[in-house]
Subunit: 478 residues, 2 copies
Amino acid sequence: MDNKQMVKEITNIEVDFAKWYTDIVKKAKLCEYSSVKGCMIIEPYGYAIWENISNNLDKEFKNIGVENCAMPMFIPESLLKKEKDHVEGFSPECAWVTHGGNEELEERLCVRPTSETLFCDYYKNTIKSYRDLPKLLNQWVSVVRWEKTTRPFLRSREFYWQEGHTAHRDGKESEEFTIKMLNVYADFLKNFLAIPVIKGQKTDSEKFAGAEATYTVEAMMHDGKALQSATSHNFGSGFAEAFKIQYLDENGELKYVSQTSWGLSTRIIGAIIMVHGDNEGLKLPPYIAPIQVIVVPIKMKDEKNLEKAKELCSLLKEEGIRATIDLTDKSPGYKFADSEMRGIPLRIEIGPKDIENNQVVLVRRDTHEKIVTPLFDIQKSVKDILEEIHINMYETAKKHLNENIREADTLDEMVKIINEKSGFVRAMHCGCKECEKKLKEETTITTRCIPFEKKLNKKTCIVCGKPAKYEVIFGRSY
Amino acid sequence: MDNKQMVKEITNIEVDFAKWYTDIVKKAKLCEYSSVKGCMIIEPYGYAIWENISNNLDKEFKNIGVENCAMPMFIPESLLKKEKDHVEGFSPECAWVTHGGNEELEERLCVRPTSETLFCDYYKNTIKSYRDLPKLLNQWVSVVRWEKTTRPFLRSREFYWQEGHTAHRDGKESEEFTIKMLNVYADFLKNFLAIPVIKGQKTDSEKFAGAEATYTVEAMMHDGKALQSATSHNFGSGFAEAFKIQYLDENGELKYVSQTSWGLSTRIIGAIIMVHGDNEGLKLPPYIAPIQVIVVPIKMKDEKNLEKAKELCSLLKEEGIRATIDLTDKSPGYKFADSEMRGIPLRIEIGPKDIENNQVVLVRRDTHEKIVTPLFDIQKSVKDILEEIHINMYETAKKHLNENIREADTLDEMVKIINEKSGFVRAMHCGCKECEKKLKEETTITTRCIPFEKKLNKKTCIVCGKPAKYEVIFGRSY
């Protein structure tokens, strides 16, 4: 049968998760490898997901007064070098332009890995007075990091993202804004992607190059590994001092601004795949699915059947539902499997008998449940079920997250838990970099974050036994 | 007075058009120079114009079945070299990445100047059968061309655009699609940007590197010079043969696809400035203006005045009108001049006397006309006037275009007309490249296009006197 045949071509999710992931990316036509080593082609279906993510997230940004702009894609080497920690963090991953046309450049240019330095240069020239603050800017662009090993969406030499860069009067305001943006991300992940997260702060070794504090939303994938889903950084006045970004306050005093940056990238598509997907394929959250509903006419050669199916599809579209109809010459079985592979949240099967009974069959991608539904007010039924699917996908992911965070008292215990059961471990840490480094090298386990929500009441570091500084979520990560 | 003072800072449009242009770009905060030579920073107000252009044009594309995707920003040198004419046309302007991280690359990578070669590489791998055709793809990205002299929006080393790339069964279908896209651009320019154009075909010397035929929409700027506003190319099977893009037709025969590409860039913002602007500043067409209506409360300290102004602004926003209120501590006179400088199509002045009389004063940016309007159903009045403004801006530009296309019989006559009166000249041409080259070198006049709409009935080339091949629109251009 077509159906089984198609599914057979995907590696079992429990057998080889990495291969399952690559199969989904390829079979659902999200991404294609290119002749450019380490760079991916985002195919129309994958890009449509990114468009739905970016359009919705952009609305959230605009609601809080953020404006979009566009900085150059190149950074002169001297500009990149202005903030010491920053250049150390990024220069090993830079792609360098050395020639323009037929001439060698006087100064080589880095293809932006991130744009703090460009925004700083702009702010230095445009911020004069407290009246110019806050500056809340963002750009939707691609950036380049010369990674050695790459994987579609998760790690590629070029990826798409948004990077917000803001300037404020002081450190208090920038800290508040940093947390505000972290919450924007967490809410967006919950409300649009059905992904629950742990909010927290990065330890010093894991924070962004040049930041005073980095905050993160960490999601748990199906295999129990973490994916850092978005980050928000408070720079304090570090960059401002390096770039001399000063303003006159109300009293005529010259002060340094305090800055933030925050980003979410196409990596998040990797998270969507790995949080929700299953052995049938991709499973897309309804609010960002390019196709929310696919109508499958059962008897393609029955003109009345075809007509009714088309009418139904138009009806749903008029209500703003992203509906489509499968008119290919494949069998219904193939079409069912195909719609599941592509992760379409809801399938509507309509055949001659359904038309007779003024009904259709709705099939949920999340539960595989078949629901015989009257055609009367079908638009409302579909909208309600899409919402239910979203909620159920979120609750399922939340349950998986909660059930896979465990506590540990000793290092051995922690390693055993993560190796055997996967997931995260909640434990205490002394906060020293050496201790984290040792753990990472010996076990490949890293600190994911210092969670905002604390649960432990213990006093010693799980790694070295010295007095603990804070509670940490440990895990392996993408 | 504030008002005059502000305007005085702009160069007079009739005295020095080039300087006027730069003043507008700077004073309306569209663009800022960056530390990256030849690259611009598109500031929030300028970028918001681009967002309105791209969102609306993207809808037109999607309506005809075009899907978005994302190709890598790099092109390996060997890939760029596959189509001979294409590489010759673009390699003198390429920026080259030679190092990734700390290592020299085995093969240098060009930062895309355009992406025909990348799409061809993708099509070669994904098109197998007639069922896969047509492929109608597009991407919204920035591209890089290493220009020697640059000007904001008009010519910069990096610019934003959309590039559509399609594959079809045969040359007839690709030719039809090329013309279809040219019409999409012409309609978009008319309906959203209030810019009239001349549609036509480029002569052989002016066509795109690798194209069989290039079509263009040419607009006339305030100074009579042309700006090529969008182009659409039919490649026939040239690229397909170079890249071996073949498909099996219904009869099992292996055939080359036939391709097109078409693009519109941030240059068009330059056209908006130069077609519509005047001595008061920018003049934005209502349907793409980031702010369509600005409300100016006359007595800022009168609480009732302020309250009513805010209510009015909210009312307009609820109707989907992009309205804002000027709450800065500047004088009304300054605010009026500022709203004109920024090209906001409609200003609403509201003072205590207006409130008493249940009215407001609408001031049109295009005609400076002041219209006392009842507050009753003000949303409808505003919408109607915005439409009138759009129509009037289009008609004004159309009149300027029509009045400045002249006919000439001899070369001397043509040069005299263009030098003294500016604008375009309609004349006959023999079609040979040498003749065009000579004209360009001696007079800086070029062939803009072979217009679809022909008007002449003459037989000899205006340059060399030999038998003419076609009618041409001549002019100087940006």
